[in-house]
């Protein structure tokens, strides 16, 4: 590997941070799409120079951007500048941002307990296919899963998820009713996992046609039945590609683990100072080494005691060690959001995370030590890293 590229989505634009394999000296480019909220930027595993970005605005709605040259230039798929505005068969272009629910959208539970119609708001997460550079999955708010098979020119809902008979019981978390996690099983193209705040985790074994909740073992005191089938505020799920039936979850409270593809979960919070948090990730080469960033509580979204600490477990949970070298240990009151942590596949494994204070921290030694790549970006919404050939 010759280097890495860290793709950072922020409240006011996207940034690309690049370095060689040593990961000590960094070049920062951006802001791209300045002034827009960039919820997520992610590259295709098949073609690392093909990037997809979710660009959103309360004013102007959703935009999907694509780059085919590693982020040097971007375009809205289907509408490159200077090209015809209709397809050869006369169909209008400009549908790369058209996310329309399949059929009658129906309703879900609102904050006050009433039913509320499904309304598309934005794309939270883009998950490119493991095998096809033109196929990408999009997790959206209000919660649904969409897919493109033409490189982002048009999107279609995999509506079996939203039409699950528990849909009316799903409810928004504080950040909205978002589908924020999409995990593709590298050993079984028919199997996917997704997670929704606040509905829980779901799995499909038929390529997205049908879904079922996989929340057994989750316990959430903030819903009327703490052991309900749905309603759990799952913040993030992570998987190591070599063990696709083992998942690690950071829930609203509790760090959880399953070893049977979500059939049952067990808590592995162990000695964490608090088990509230947002991101969770797995070491690229050690499937039992996992990382979380504990946050004080659901009502105080900052690190306990003003100390920014990453916790690492080399035992797949329960036993956690504190990682602080290079991280601020006083007066630090930032948060790390659910999509704002990523790992690279270099040796040793690199870990990256971004904060709501605009810092992006990197560790080139699997978390033993950290240094900021940048300190003063807008609030960081997402971090992805690519190892470049």
């Amino acid at each position: 590997m010759s280097g890495v590229r860290v793709l950072v989505g922020t409240r006011k634009g996207a940034f690309a941070l690049t370095s060689d394999g040593k990961r000590k000296r960094w070049k920062v480019s951006g802001p791209h799409f300045a002034g827009w909220e960039i919820y997520h930027v992610k590259g295709s595993p098949v073609d690392p120079n093909r990037l997809f970005a979710s660009q959103t605005s309360a004013w102007f709605g959703q935009i999907i951007q694509r780059s085919d040259d590693g982020g040097k230039t971007w375009f809205q798929p289907g509408t490159p500048a200077g090209e015809p505005t209709t397809t050869p068969d006369g169909m209008p272009q400009g549908e790369s941002n058209k996310f329309v629910y399949d059929g009658i959208p129906g309703s879900h539970q609102w904050y006050d307990g009433t039913q509320h119609p499904w309304e598309f708001k934005r794309v939270w997460h883009l998950e490119p296919s493991l095998t096809d550079p033109d196929t990408v999955y999009a997790g959206v708010e209000d919660a649904a899963l969409f897919r493109t098979t033409n490189g982002g020119k048009s999107w279609h809902e995999l509506s079996g998820l939203r039409k699950h008979d528990t849909g009316p019981k799903w409810q928004p978390g504080a950040g909205g009713m978002c589908l924020h996690t999409i995990l593709l099983d590298p050993s079984n193209p028919q199997r996917m996992y997704i997670a929704i705040s606040a509905a829980g985790a779901f799995r499909t074994d038929d390529g997205g046609k049908t879904w079922r909740p996989i929340n057994r073992g989750l316990h959430s005191q903030y819903i009327p039945d703490p052991n309900a089938e749905v309603g759990h505020c799952v913040h993030r799920i992570a998987m190591h590609p070599s063990r696709p039936s083992t998942l690690f979850m950071q829930k609203h409270w509790d760090v959880m683990r399953t070893d049977d593809a979500g059939e049952s979960w067990r808590e592995v919070s162990g000695n964490l100072p608090t088990d509230f948090g947002f991101p969770i990730d797995v070491h690229a080469h050690e499937p039992e080494t996992i990382y979380v960033v504990p946050i004080k509580s659901d009502s105080e979204h900052f690190p306990p005691d003003g100390k920014l600490r990453v916790f690492r477990s080399r035992a797949g949970g329960n036993e956690w060690e504190t990682l602080t070298k290079g991280l601020p240990q006083r007066n630090c009151y930032v948060n790390v959001l659910r999509d704002a942590m990523s790992v690279d596949s270099l040796e040793p494994c690199g870990i990256y995370f971004g904060t709501t204070g605009g810092q992006v921290y990197a560790s080139a030694d699997a978390g033993d030590s950290w240094a900021p790549i940048v300190r003063d970006l807008p609030a960081v919404l997402s971090v992805e890293v690519q190892a470049l050939p």
């Binding site: 002034g35 004013w59 102007f60 709605g61 505005t85 549908e95």
Partner: protein, 98 residues
């Protein structure tokens, strides 16, 4: 020729500087102007009005000749000065947020 002034973010998406000039078929109305805008700049579809309902996005406003015409019916005639090109049709991002 209808002149349309877009907000900066939409000018960036459309890759234009300054005003956009559009040939509009038939009477100049919000609908006919936006139809022409989207036909010429398909990357703007969905950003000013909803893809499906064609309703104005809630934080987008339309001004013409010193008047807020956002709440006029989409097929109501725009002022003659807009229709004859002496005044622009302004698409505005509402003052909200930070």
């Amino acid at each position: 020729m209808i002149r349309v002034l877009l907000p900066p973010h939409l000018r960036t998406l459309a890759r234009v500087d300054g005003e956009v000039q559009l040939d509009v078929e038939g009477p100049a109305t919000q609908r006919s102007v936006l139809d022409a805008l989207e036909a010429n700049y398909p990357m703007l579809r969905g950003t000013v009005r909803d893809h499906v309902t064609q309703e104005r996005r809630s934080l987008v406003r339309f001004f013409a000749c010193g008047q807020d015409v956002s709440h006029e019916p989409p097929d109501a005639p725009l002022p003659a000065e807009v229709a004859n090109g002496s005044e622009p049709f302004l698409v505005i991002g509402a003052i909200a947020g930070g």
